[in-house]
């Protein structure tokens, strides 16, 4: 893919980059959450995909300095994560997976609090920024409401707002779209996409494939603490080419197929079922290959890794 050498075009540009080397995290109960993670993340939106318990949150908590890695090295914009937390924290915006309980603060107060701590000292500018951000996430009307009393979606949006306040260079969002309705989800994706065109890194952890397919330029697939794939979503999709099948099946066959292969979708037809499966081949069934999407690729990847599954 062609990339513009941005620093040539914009002299003030600070190139953002995260390098993760041999990162391990072993919890005190012996559970190894991360195994030898090596990763390089550049500007743009970076998707971190993986099932629950894959280690996504652990990785994110390490990246936002909430947790100490057991070993390994993370360099963010040239700063060492374990030594230069002051510098790193001043670049961060973070939205954790759980973001529900607030102390007795109003919506705008919470955002103002975050803005202050994000380094916005000028009262007037901060007020403008907070108001603008509230507008952007559609919470301006709710600015005087208790943060605790907001709906789940509004809390999420407040979370996004506080993560984005004062233009952080590195934005880390953990499962940001859970609990959002589809409209909000699209708005949110678009917002992140817009921001990602600036010189920032957005790390988006999710187990919803759609979030990544529509916005990420790069991604990693985490499974059981290890890195299963890194690259662009397109590269992942390529890996699944020829593995996704559309099968026309009778009721009887459908039950059989359901036993054998991971079924991605099933649509009832007049003759029986139209089934999408991921498999190396579909011996004996009437069907044909279709072009894979990211979801197919993800399932293909996860199933093959998990079950050491091979085609029948």
């Amino acid at each position: 893919m062609y990339k513009i050498k941005s620093d040539v075009l914009r002299p003030n540009f600070l190139k953002v980059k995260i390098t993760i080397e041999n990162l391990n995290k072993v919890y005190s109960n012996g559970n190894q959450a991360l195994k030898d993670i090596n990763l390089e993340i550049n500007n743009g939106m970076f998707g971190l995909l993986g099932p629950n318990g894959a280690g996504k949150s652990s990785l994110m908590r390490i990246l936002v300095t909430l947790m100490q890695p057991s070993s390994g090295k993370v360099i963010m914009n040239g700063y060492d994560l374990t030594k230069d937390r002051e510098k790193i924290r001043s670049m961060l915006g973070y939205l954790p997976q759980d973001f529900r309980f607030f102390s007795h603060l109003k919506t705008y107060e919470f955002l103002d609090y975050a803005a202050r701590l994000a380094g916005m000292r000028d009262t007037r500018l901060r007020k403008q920024a907070v108001d603008k951000m509230l507008e952007e996430v559609g919470l301006f009307e709710a600015r005087d409401r208790q943060a605790n009393k907001l709906s789940g979606g509004m809390k999420r949006r407040l979370g996004i707002a506080q993560a984005l306040i004062n233009d952080p260079k590195i934005i880390i969002v953990d499962e940001p779209t859970t609990g959002l309705d589809p409209e909000e989800r699209i708005r949110f994706r678009n917002l992140l996409s817009t921001i990602s065109t600036q010189d920032v890194i957005i790390i988006l952890s999710t187990h919803i494939v759609g979030d990544i397919s529509s916005s990420c330029t790069d991604m990693a697939l985490l499974n059981e603490g290890g890195l299963a794939f890194t690259g662009s979503p397109d590269e992942l999709v390529v890996k699944a080419e020829g593995k996704v099948w559309l099968i026309q099946a009778t009721e009887e066959e459908y039950l059989e197929i359901n036993e054998k292969y991971p079924v991605i979708s099933n649509v009832p037809t007049s003759e029986g079922w139209e089934i999408q499966v991921v498999a190396d081949s579909i011996n004996g069934y009437s069907g044909h290959n279709i072009a894979p999407n990211l979801e197919h690729a993800y399932v293909y990847f996860m199933e093959s890794k998990l079950n050491q599954w091979t085609a029948i």
């Binding site: 936002v64 300095t65 909430l66 947790m67 100490q68 374990t82 030594k83 230069d84 937390r85 002051e86 510098k87 790193i88 924290r89 001043s90 961060l92 973070y94 939205l95 954790p96 759980d98 973001f99 529900r100 309980f101 607030f102 102390s103 007795h104 603060l105 107060e109 919470f110 609090y113 975050a114 202050r116 701590l117 994000a118 380094g119 000292r121 979370g159 506080q162 993560a163």
Partner: protein, 1117 residues
């Protein structure tokens, strides 16, 4: 770099959050409301009708002090909760993460949170202080001490909050559980308040609840250095804990080492706290050791002969907080042998630079307080001149060496605040010195465990000259002259001691009846001149007649040419002592009066008048004019000086009413006796106090009835109980008995002098005493001299008797019977003849005092509170009984008494005062009027023949001791655990187990007691076992007294007692209705008994509030 921006940001939102927390809001509203009413009640009006509580309003600085003490005690606990809440919140809220990832150091974060917490409390403090201030501004008769508002905030609230916030953060960081943290710290608070309270001069008092903080208008805080060290220590520990919390915070620090780095300031602050604490404790321990060393040194020197100082010439220069003194002493050797070595005592804080002996500088040894002369020969009767140059300030640890550590450490608690206890003051603007601080050299040693020299007074002629800062006034004994800024005092006669006060005073003088009256008050404390303006012409007469009344009462004259009343700082304190009768507030011709009459309700003139108006509306006093009320207020004030007892301390602790009889430190009697006479005895140093007790007894009324009811025993009765177990000599040496020692001295003194009185006759002895005192005025004499004179005049040798009197543990015990009162015609006058029989059944002789009150009045609560009770006529008759003697006595009285009170003085009888009613006194035409006594052969009998009695004091009386308390009840309800043998009688708060109480109307031999209990289910039983002789039919009686309490005297007690009688055919329940029962023996019916013991039970089931078990009697039929 520390980012102020981050700290303020965190603080700002912590404040917002806390101000919105319901917990804090409820507490704040509660505090504001409670203190609103508190201030309303104490500053604007009180229940008594006066304009607020005088204790709070007397010094304006007390208002913020008390408000903050109240608030602080609660906020110190609330702060624990709120502080531990911040870490709990951090843990609980998932949104904390987005705050934690912000670029700020852990230090900034914790600092912000701490400041947030602190600011919220500061806001509350400001609200409370403003509230107090508003009341302060509205309230009458009280100024505003603005700076005190700031002082107390900085001293009380701030260090407490810093400390408790820090400690709470820290404990919470370690335990990570708010509930456990809260409980643990509450435990800590409870321990500091209830157990460690006064230890090491209030070392553990983190909330400044007990450390004395009263601010005087004369000297400010009495102990500013100790306060600053103490509060500084807690602030340092608090900050130390906060730093420790930073390094324990569960958040990755900004840089890898910063957690360790914050340990450094933590350590520094802890070290500072420990250093301050050590300073605090070491001062305390050093003083304690010094006191012990001084006592030991005194004992080691107790045999060194003591010179007599005949004259003092003291030249003193006061500069800043130092004194520079030259004291010239004329001394003589009063002993039969030559003296080579002798010692003088001088406060150890004063450094002696030069000593001259007859003008010659000599070397002396200074050891602690002692100045030791050796090889300085003085022949018997030889005189010499000693000159001491010394300078420095006073070490108060050397005062009150006879007072034990526990008493010394006790807080001087007044109302709701604490006052420091000072025995001497030397500050740039104020000086207060009395003999107790030993500011001038005194011959001999001071107090030691064996050494009693210090208590023996020497009368000397004093001449004092003082130079001080311009504008200050000097007050001392003698005629005062002022020339070139030097005050000079000269005396025409000897004095046992002098005092010195230097301060900024307004002086008022007047000569009344030839006596010079001087009044020295703080320039801003004249609250009375305007008040008494309308009656100012009457005041001198009031003073003169009060003085004459008192002189008549004690039968002694005021010995001095002048009387000086000096206002001194509230912190000036004195202790009651065993060997010395006077308190330090009373100096020769001088009374040192606490500033603005703090804690002396009688000095609240305005309040007194307001109360009179309020109460007057209900009573007969409506007619008094405002002037008359002012006169009454002034008389009330004067009478305060002539009352031996101060207002008793009444407090409700652990559900039980505790009453402590207290001596009045301003009682003026020492002016009449102690500072003018002294009877010395090396063998019995207490002798002078016996004389004192004898002379002052006539001025003291008997025990207060209402107090007895509440407390169970008077201090006189406790003294009697103690005298049964210990001899007088033993009691004098027992520091734990100091509370009742005055009563013991009084009782023993009465019996000693009654011996002589009986031989000499009242009149003759009074004349003798008068002349004796006149001959020794302003000089001391010895008990030997007194005895010689007694022998010459009355042919009685007192000394052998005294020996026995000191060692004996025997007390007389009296039985009284056959009391009757009839009206008889004596000539043509109708008189009341009172007759009774009295037996002293013990082998020691004794005296009793029979008192008759004539006319109406004289109900409970008279005496002090009624303003002297002088209008009541009482007739006192002394009655002497040999050991094992019975007398029948008969008195003829001009009026009809309502009752007779037989005060058994030193005796086994409890109650010691038996109040026996007459009922209706009728005329008996046959009775022969007679006054006198005759000795009878047969003693007064309690039990007649054929009667068998079991009293509750007998060993055969039992009661069920049930333990049906829950653990919580045991912890909370302590009403039954009072160690006293007898408790008060209180129907509203009766004990849950059978407890003994005493009353004149109960049955008993010497001890008229009964057991009583709160009514219940009937399971708690009192059981009498009465041994009988021979089977047969007996009539069973129970002694029942219907005690009425309070105002409902005329109302009969409703209820019933259920007795169970175990007779030969089984059990029978007999119910006695209290309404129909008689006071005294009530028949329960006749029963046939076959065994040798009869068992009668009384359960605690009754409609009445309490059930009383006294005595059961069986009469054979």
């Amino acid at each position: 770099m520390i980012s102020v921006h981050n700290i303020t940001s965190i603080a700002k939102y912590e404040i917002t959050t806390l101000l919105r927390s319901w917990f804090f809001r409820i507490f704040a509203i509660f505090a504001i409301v409670v203190l609103f009413f508190f201030n309303l009640a104490t500053q604007i009006f009180d229940g008594g009708g006066g304009p607020g509580n005088v204790n709070i309003k007397v010094l304006p600085s007390i208002i913020p002090y008390v408000n903050l003490i109240l608030l602080n005690t609660v906020q110190a606990i609330i702060a624990i909760f709120l502080a531990s809440d911040f870490l709990k919140r951090d843990k609980k809220l998932d949104t904390t993460d987005v705050i934690y990832i912000r670029s700020m150091s852990n230090g900034e974060y914790v600092a912000g949170k701490t400041i947030g917490n602190l600011v919220v409390f500061i806001i509350l403090n400001l609200i409370i202080l403003s509230e107090a201030l508003i009341f302060n501004l509205i309230a009458e008769d009280v100024a505003v001490n603005w700076i005190a508002y700031l002082n107390y905030f900085l001293i009380i609230s701030l260090p407490t909050l810093i400390f408790i916030l820090g400690l709470s953060f820290f404990v919470m960081s370690i335990l990570k559980n708010q509930a456990i943290t809260f409980i643990l710290l509450l435990g800590y608070v409870a321990i500091t308040i209830f157990y460690l309270n006064t230890k090491y001069y209030f070392l553990f008092d983190y909330m400044a609840y007990s450390i004395p903080l009263l601010k005087s208008d004369f000297i400010g805080f009495g102990n500013i250095q100790a306060i600053l060290i103490h509060r500084g220590m807690y602030a340092c520990f608090g900050v130390g804990f906060i730093f420790l919390t930073i390094s324990l915070l569960k958040r990755l620090p900004q840089s890898p080492f910063s957690n360790k780095v914050t340990l450094i300031p933590a350590l520094i602050f802890f070290a500072a706290g420990i250093w301050l604490g050590e300073k605090h404790v070491s001062t305390f321990v050093r003083n304690q050791n010094l006191r012990e060393d001084i006592r030991t040194l005194n004992d080691a020197n107790q045999t060194v002969p003591r010179l007599k100082v005949t004259g003092y010439q003291i030249d003193l220069i006061h500069t800043g907080d130092k004194l520079e003194v030259t004291a010239k002493l004329k001394v003589t050797n009063p002993h039969q042998e030559a003296v080579n070595d002798f010692v003088f005592s001088l406060n150890p804080g004063l450094n002696v630079s030069k000593v001259r002996y007859n003008g010659q500088e000599i070397a002396v040894k200074r050891e602690l307080h002692l100045i030791e002369f050796s090889g300085t020969k003085l022949e018997p009767g030889e005189t010499a001149e000693l000159e001491f140059d010394y300078s420095g300030t006073l070490n108060e640890a050397a005062s009150y060496l006879d007072v034990d550590d526990k008493t010394l450490q006790e807080a001087y608690k007044a109302f709701m605040f604490q006052i420091d206890k000072r025995s001497a003051i030397v500050s740039p603007d104020f000086v207060l010195l009395t003999r107790e601080c030993n500011w001038y050299p005194i011959a001999g040693t001071s107090f030691g465990k064996q050494s009693k020299q210090w208590a023996q007074k020497q009368f000397s002629n004093f001449e004092v000259s003082v130079k001080t800062k311009p504008g200050l006034t000097v007050v001392s004994q003698g005629k005062s002259e002022q020339k070139d800024g030097t005050f000079r005092f000269t005396n025409k006669h000897n004095l046992p001691q002098i005092s010195l006060v230097i301060g900024n005073y307004t002086e008022k003088t007047d000569t009344i009846d030839g006596l010079a009256f001087n009044l020295y008050v703080h320039p801003e404390h004249d609250y009375f001149t305007k008040f008494f303006e309308p009656v100012k012409d009457t005041i001198p007469d009031l003073i003169a007649s009060a003085l004459k009344d008192y002189e008549r009462k004690i039968d002694m004259f005021y010995p001095f040419e002048r009387f000086t009343l000096v206002e001194v700082p509230a912190q000036f304190y004195s202790y009651p002592r065993t060997l010395i009768g006077e308190r330090e507030q009373v100096q020769p011709e001088t009374i040192l009066f606490p500033e603005k009459g703090l804690l002396i309700p009688e000095s609240d003139f305005n309040g007194s008048v307001k109360r009179m108006e309020r109460w007057g509306g209900r009573g007969s006093d409506v007619q008094s004019t405002p002037e008359e009320k002012k006169i009454m207020a002034f008389n009330n004030f004067l009478s305060m000086f002539t009352q031996a007892a101060a207002r008793p301390d009444i407090n409700r602790s652990q559900g039980e009413l505790q009453i402590e009889e207290k001596a009045n430190p301003l009682y003026c009697f020492p002016l009449f006796y102690n500072h003018a006479y002294f009877v010395q005895s090396d063998k019995w140093p207490i002798t002078d106090r016996i004389f004192e007790a004898y002379l002052r007894q006539s001025s003291e009324s008997g025990a207060m009835g209402f107090m007895r009811d509440m407390q169970g025993m008077t201090e006189n009765e406790q003294a009697n109980l103690a005298l049964l177990d210990y001899s007088f000599a033993e009691l004098l040496d027992d520091p734990s008995k100091v509370k009742i020692i005055d009563n013991v001295i009084q009782l023993k003194g009465q019996s000693l002098f009654s011996i002589i009185k009986r031989k000499a006759g009242d009149e003759a002895f009074n004349d003798f005493m008068f002349n004796f005192l006149k001959s020794i005025k302003f000089n001391s004499t010895t008990i030997g001299d007194f005895n010689t004179r007694i022998q010459q005049q009355f042919n009685t040798d007192l000394l052998p008797y005294m020996e026995k009197w000191f060692r004996s543990k025997d007390l007389p015990g009296y039985l009284i019977g056959g009391l009757s009162a009839v009206n008889v015609l004596d000539g043509d006058r109708l008189k009341t003849m009172v007759k009774f029989r009295i037996s002293n059944t013990e082998k020691t002789e004794g005296i009793v005092l029979a008192q008759f009150r004539l006319g109406e009045g004289g109900g409970p609560g008279r005496g002090r509170f009624g303003g002297g009770g002088a209008n009541m006529e009482t007739i006192d008759k002394l009655l002497y009984l040999e050991g094992n003697q019975t007398k029948e006595v008969s008195y003829l009285l001009d009026g009809t008494p309502r009752n007779i009170t037989i005060n058994t003085l030193a005796s086994r009888n409890i109650p010691a005062e038996l109040r026996l009613p007459f009922g209706n006194v009728e005329q008996d035409t046959k009775a022969v009027p007679y006054e006198g006594e005759k000795v009878l052969d047969s003693p007064v009998r309690l039990v007649e023949k054929g009667e068998f009695i079991c009293d509750d004091e007998d060993s055969t009386f039992r009661f069920t001791r049930t333990e049906d308390y829950s653990l919580l009840q045991k912890l909370l309800i302590k009403d039954d655990q009072s160690p006293d043998r007898f408790i008060g009688f209180n129907t509203w708060h009766a004990p849950r187990t059978w407890r003994a109480t005493t009353n004149s109307s109960f049955f008993g031999k010497f001890i008229r007691s009964a057991h009583y209990i709160r009514s219940g289910d009937g399971n708690k039983k009192a059981i009498w076992s009465i041994p009988i002789k021979g089977q047969g039919t007996y009539e069973v009686f129970s002694y029942i007294v219907k005690i009425r309490q309070g105002r409902r005297e005329n109302q009969d007690v409703a209820g019933e007692y259920t007795y169970t009688i175990n007779h030969s055919e089984g059990k029978e329940e007999v119910v006695v209705d209290l309404k129909t029962a008689e006071d005294g023996w009530n028949s329960l019916g006749s029963f046939y008994f076959s065994g040798d013991t009869v068992k009668v039970e009384l359960g605690n089931k009754s409609v009445a509030k309490v059930v009383v078990a006294d005595a059961v009697k069986l009469v054979k039929q």
